[in-house]
Symmetry: C2
Subunit: 403 residues, 2 copies
């Protein structure tokens, strides 16, 4: 019998219990022994709950319990998750987590602790929910120099944008709808402002480049400013608007990561990742481009990744996984302003300043556009170069364009 | 220094040499030692070849060389690949392969030998070329009961169908074009008749269900009979024609696999997998559906998977990977005739027999259709039930429809 503890009793923890109940026989066969949740750390009462017998209020008891081989941290947030995770790893227990915030900020420290005590710290569920992406990136593509990771990393914002594109609703209406359906939280800030995607692209960059990418180095722009007009211009260009997290290796040997809404061509498979789904493209110098697609959130999907990690941790108990995630070294992170793109610009500044800044550009027509509004694409250039040309010209909107 | 041997000197072997040369420093860092190809088994001369110094004609020498830790078998075909692989595994060498034919027919035997001698037999490259699919299926989704694997597994036929769909060419024209571009071989039988996809869906079924799926149990229908008319009817239905390999767990506890062209709805992401690319959907009872997309062939892409497997084999030398692929047991393979689908049928048999067989069906219009030709969709039913209803009604075409 393999025994584990859950820290937290939210959607993912319940998903884990559901999957263990449903696939118990299959998991026992894979592990060679039944897998059982012995304790669940809760912070409040759940009257009449069928799992009440497993509830504990004190983490120290879990940490000191020699029967518990692995701890599943699904409480979220940086503290007390960091303290508990570090303590569990130091106590020789494997830790499996879905906590992207903790990983993005302190993952490297925790991996070091896991390395010292020779246990596993696994976190497939922290990016892309149930989609296998971190282990494929590190293990199946290990022959590659990874040059880019780029993806739709947040289901809530992708749902909102998909509604805006397919139904012509505006942002606030689509957000209310997402909240009504339970896809967005009452306080949607972390999703809508791109913070959730920022954490995830940090973790992807950490593993893709083997070097810590601190969240402070990653600019995050959300989707609040995406207008119906932008969505319509995108359609005219054969594109859709999607919020992307991107991490790139730049020609000068540095690396940059950022989160921002993009115009993506409909010939790019990412443009067809709709609704609450996630899709992540990895570009390696041997393989070319691969895409990984699936449910990026939800209790059962996330539990799929968590429980698979538990199986892996228990089967490979004696072998620390080396994630190749170093605190420093190359490629050094730098600002995303150095990343080259074509740009879509929309302005009501008039023709003269556009001509002065960009020369002969081709304008995009839009039947509903007010008089004096112009939209156009620029040649490829860095954000720094773009902003130098734009100067003090007022912009109504600005998007990177991805083919 | 880690030394390996290559068996074969074709496109994949050259890709492996290219990737090792280009990413040598990175691989040495990951492995803790440089990785070097010591010997290449060739069957003929390559005058003036830069690798001539590594060429050997005798496999026994490779097998007896204590310096060679891993053998990369990229010669293809069942023999002598089986004999060499078995001998290398028995000699305590890891074997990495891209040989789908050998795996589909005798993979389970070879895994047993690897298990006895405690070495790795790894074959990520055998399905989906460079796409990480086998290890994600077995490791990252191990919490799931896998209910279905379904994919575009052959780039040649997908290129031909994409040309037919996007340019209105017919099959033979698109095939010639694929041959001119090097996407199809002079003898295209294995691709066009679905045999390559058949081997790959066998391997996927083996791993998804944990039970050997013999190729003899898997019906394979190719794309030779796909006509321009079928492609146009599909468009009218909001579908495209794609060759799919599918393996499903059936409600009665058995499993079935087959290869056939399908009508796939454009709302299904697989319908957007175009050209020579591959895409594979895995449906698990916890995760739901995930899709893995990327280059399914080509020297460098396949080498990405091969070299990543070599790294994995060398890093985890002491641990045999248990692929959970048993010779017998549940789910028992059965005929694909038991798989339920909606069907697209096209016939010139006249209205009376259609009405007698299917009652009130809704006909699909097609402006170019000759008088007396009718096309329609059936309700969901097994192939067995369909054929019983069709009786001796002559059909012009018949496709399963996938939403």
């Amino acid at each position: 019998m393999s025994k584990i503890a859950l820290l937290g009793y939210g959607v993912v923890a319940r998903g884990v219990l559901e999957v263990l109940a449903e696939n118990g026989a299959l998991l026992a066969r894979r592990l060679g022994a039944p897998l059982e949740v012995k304790s669940i750390l809760v912070r409040r009462d759940f009257p009449g709950d069928p799992n009440a017998g497993k509830f504990v209020r004190d983490f120290a008891g879990i940490c000191a319990d020699p029967e518990i081989e692995a701890v599943v941290e699904v409480m979220g947030g940086e503290e007390p998750a960091y303290t508990y995770t570090a303590a569990a790893l130091r106590a020789g227990k494997h830790v499996v987590t879905a906590n992207k915030q903790l990983l993005a900020h302190r993952g490297q420290e925790l991996l070091d602790i896991a390395g010292e005590t020779g246990v596993n710290y696994l976190f497939e569920a922290s990016v892309g929910g149930g989609i296998p992406i971190l282990r494929p990136l590190r293990e199946c593509l290990s022959a590659n120099r990874v040059d880019e990771v780029c993806g739709i990393l947040n289901g809530t914002t992708n749902y909102i944008l998909t509604e805006m594109i397919q139904c012509g609703t505006d942002f606030s209406e689509a957000l209310s709808q997402a909240q009504a359906l339970g896809y967005a939280e009452a306080d949607p800030t972390a999703d809508v402002e791109g913070l959730d995607a920022q954490r995830k692209i940090c973790i992807l960059a950490d593993l893709a480049f083997g070097r810590n990418m601190p969240p402070e180095a990653v600019s995050a722009q959300g989707i609040r400013a995406v207008s119906r007009e932008d969505v319509e211009y995108a359609q005219r260009l054969g594109c859709v608007v999607k919020l992307l997290g991107r991490a790139l290796r730049l020609p000068d040997g540095t690396a940059a990561a950022y989160v921002a809404p993009h115009f993506i061509s409909k010939t790019n498979l990412l443009s067809h990742v709709d609704g609450v789904m996630n899709g992540i493209v990895v570009r390696g110098n041997a393989v070319g481009e691969c895409l990984f697609y699936g449910p990026g959130a939800g209790g059962r999907a996330t539990a799929s990744a968590v429980v698979s990690d538990v199986v892996d941790a228990l089967l490979h108990a004696s072998r620390r996984k080396d994630w190749g995630w170093a605190a420093s070294g190359a490629p050094e992170p730098q600002s995303a302003a150095a990343v080259v793109s074509r740009w879509f610009l929309r302005t009501d500044a008039g023709l003269a300043p556009i001509g002065a800044a960009f020369g002969n550009v081709q304008f995009l027509s839009h039947s509903g556009a007010p008089a004096g509004e112009y939209a156009f694409l620029t040649p490829p250039m860095t954000e720094t170069a773009l902003l130098a040309r734009v100067g003090d010209m007022p912009l109504l909107s600005r998007y990177r364009v991805l083919d």
